[in-house]
Assembly symmetry: C2
Homo-oligomer: 502 residues x 2
């Protein structure tokens, strides 16, 4: 998980106040809660509307233990946390992806990200993609509960780890913002998903949600809220809203295409201020899944590749020995093998000294066992190529659909913004070569990293950004690829490994 | 539990709306929550701010099961319940006493009370009065939890029973109002009580509270709230606020005394618009506890008594055979025995043919075993008389303290309003005779029944009454009898069984 710097100031969400509370006496026997209201009222020059009940349960003990001096986390008009005077308050921004979860711990005083961490989504054991997880959820209430519970448990663990790294207590976390695709959003909130899996594929909820963290089982400050940014549609979720927010896509002029590439790829076209978004099932190949020697972009992964005049050139993560292939490497390998005629346009491996048969399936050997201390070969198989063809075709059909809906041509696109961890590492030329991205001059492409996470962090600390996210969600028109009549034909055409499809 | 009629209209709390929700389609794939917002927005001519998350969890299934037609419980700006079109919504008002709990089921459409029920407070097994229960709660977290849990469990049962009687489902209950003394209030909300039991005896919270019923473990409509009226002070709780509200005590002119007699007796003096309240520990004698043949005012209880020229005259509940003595009977018996010189002013039983010794303790035999088919004698013991003396002294010291604080005399009191089930049944002359109530003309007394319950029912259905309750709580000055320097002397004096104390 990378931690891009944020350039916005905390504002309007959480105020941290150090106060001194008057001790009660027999002659002035104020209740603890009134005494707190008085002290706060003087500090902010106005009445305090609400003190969360769970904070009130802690108040009598904490006031007496901490000598009537407190640090108060004030969320708009509500006290959501109390701690000893001088305590700093934090927030956590979470991006729940189908495959990975990224979380950022943000200091509410400075707006600085003090720690960030990524883990695998534990729901993977219940289904690799959103469709199989919806199917699992439809089976029994237990499965539905499990899909929610494993998510919450791993978020609690993730938050604990972030806090440990920064040296703070989990009760100092006084706000969480969560983004994710609509299905993750629903699992997180324990909303039904059946209607998301059946025509007309509608979400239970898309509007922004504020809910007490404790009601979802999250263990942070006793009165803290979770805020979920609004979803845009059935398969375009709050993570896309966050991406558009962080990339300012809605404010850019001209014709701008935005992509967040992952297991689901969300694509938005801003056509002179009219925004349309859709989602396509690009599958987990870019995350290294369903690929024989696939892996995440960790130590030993081939992340870039060139094949020049018979020579194989690798760029390996942490400059280690190659042990597998991550998404960006996969893209380069297939692009380079195409360019060299070893893979034809239909994706078939041609004959070549490095093409061998393993278990009856053709594969191109990148690293042979004897080239490797660990004696592990690395190869790309015919099946791997098919996986990539399906993934890239899904993305390209998505792009072309948006372009056609706006009655323009791909060449009219002034700018392509690519978000997502994977999208930041890919070689754009490779992606163009195999026909995943439109044939446009390289300078029109902008790779911005995990923008969904950045958008979540912005919304975590800024009420202005939350408003903006709501405006974006209201403004973006959602298009469902399921309504495209000739989808299958277009998809089949788009699997071709060149950039000549029309 | 008696069900006084309410003369106010439901207003401003809960709106019941029958709506038709538009089915989504592939071309207009509105989320269920948006579709609900649209349908409601048209009905009330404005946007709906909030839909409770737990309602949203039910929404997709209920919309499809009930054919896109719903009855919606709208609480101010928030949807708190959904049900099939045509469903009626209800509220429950609860008065949690130290000894008894009374609950009323109210129809939110008509404001009518459709059922009411009383049960014993199950916390009695953990302590008979508030002081012993605070001690129990201070021992361990488990005890503290138990005091909360038994209360919630019996409320759930009570609500089930009320619903069963009216033929409705518990999920049709969309709002609860709770009143009780400050200690019951704290146990109900699971707030700490330690500081209530130690000088300066302050509550954790006195301001009105709104909390989701589910967060307390109450099983009603999924998004429903519990509203607690404000407390006035450490030992003057929301039940007193409700009593003042129902009795309009704050609006009456002149000098008005209000009493709610129970295990704790709350007393308020309205001295030309300046209100002061205090509480005194009158003990459970009036509920029939700690009295040898004491019982609740149920079948067979002696509820009234006269002793004229050697003849014993009983009035028995349900005109049955006498089996015990309830609070109002106890008061009459002691008053009549005093009047006839059988009990002296210090409370000692004199010699008399009906005064015998049982286990070394003197007692006056009211009903001998051979006068009774069941062969159960009913008597009043020397110890019973002492119990009543303590109870009545506590009340009288309370009254005198308020009178003295206002620098008036008891004879200046224009009106005495007596609330509470017990207070409604007592013979005022008897109470005056033994010195429990001031020596005033009988026409100045007004016995109004369970006013706390009526106040709770008013606040349940009327936002105006909730506001008024807050004004009352802010207006009433709380006085703590613990701060009275010569309390013990005054209390000892007030145990004398006449009305001549000065």
């Amino acid at each position: 998980v990378e931690g891009q710097e944020l350039h916005i100031q905390p504002e309007g969400i959480l105020l941290s106040l150090d106060i001194r509370v008057e001790k009660p006496s027999l002659s002035v026997p104020l209740s603890d809660e009134q005494a707190l209201r008085h002290a706060l009222g003087e500090k902010i020059n106005g009445p305090i509307d609400k003190i969360d009940l769970f904070v009130q349960r802690e108040l009598p003990v904490k006031l007496r233990r901490f000598g009537w001096e407190l640090s108060v986390a004030l969320r708009r008009d509500e006290v959501v946390g109390i701690a000893p005077r001088g305590t700093r308050w934090y927030g956590v921004a979470v991006d729940i992806g189908t495959t990975k979860i990224a979380a950022y711990l943000v200091d509410f005083t400075t707006g600085e990200t003090t720690a960030s961490k990524g883990i695998m989504n534990p729901q993977i054991s219940l289904g690799e993609d959103v469709v199989t997880r919806i199917t699992a959820a439809n089976q029994t209430q237990d499965k539905r509960d499990e899909l929610h519970d494993v998510l919450i448990n791993s978020l609690n663990l993730l938050i604990s780890n972030l806090c440990y790294e920064t040296g703070i207590d989990h009760t100092q976390v006084a706000e969480i913002v969560v983004v994710g695709n609509t299905v993750m959003h629903h699992f997180f909130l324990s909303l039904p998903v059946r209607q998301l899996g059946e025509s007309p594929y509608v979400p239970a909820c898309i509007t922004a949600v504020d809910v007490k963290a404790r009601e979802l089982g999250l263990k942070i400050a006793s009165g803290a809220y979770v805020h979920l940014l609004p979803n845009i549609g059935g398969y375009v979720g709050a993570d896309h809203t966050a991406m558009l927010l962080a990339a300012d896509l809605h404010k850019r002029s001209g014709v701008v295409l935005g992509l967040d590439i992952g297991t689901n790829t969300e694509i938005c076209l801003n056509h002179h201020g009219r925004l349309t978004s859709l989602s396509c099932a690009s599958g987990p190949a870019f995350e290294g899944a369903h690929i024989k020697h696939g892996m995440r972009a960790a130590k030993g992964a081939i992340e870039h590749f060139q094949f020049n005049e018979g020579e194989l050139l690798f760029q390996i993560v942490e400059e280690s020995e190659p042990v597998g292939i991550c998404g960006s490497g996969l893209l380069d390998i297939i692009s380079e093998l195409c360019r060299n005629g070893i893979i034809d346009q239909k994706g078939r491996l041609n004959e070549h000294p490095l093409v061998i048969l393993d278990d009856g399936i053709k594969e191109f050997v990148l690293v042979s066992a004897d080239q490797n201390n660990r004696r592990i070969p690395v190869a790309i198989t015919q099946k791997d190529i098919r996986e990539l063809q399906l993934a890239k075709a899904a993305i390209r059909v998505g792009i072309r659909t948006l372009v056609e809906l706006s009655q323009i041509r791909e060449s009219d696109i002034d700018q392509v913004v690519i978000a997502g961890a994977f999208g930041s590492y890919i070689n754009i030329s490779s992606a163009i070569q195999i026909g995943m991205l439109p044939l446009l001059p390289l300078e029109r492409f902008d790779q911005i990293g995990n923008a969904a996470g950045s958008g979540a962090r912005m919304a975590l600390i800024s009420s202005q950004k939350r408003l903006e996210a709501q405006e974006i969600a209201a403004q973006v028109k959602y298009f469902d690829l399921a309504t495209l009549p000739d989808f299958q034909t277009k998809f089949a055409k788009a699997t071709v490994l060149n950039n000549k499809i029309d």
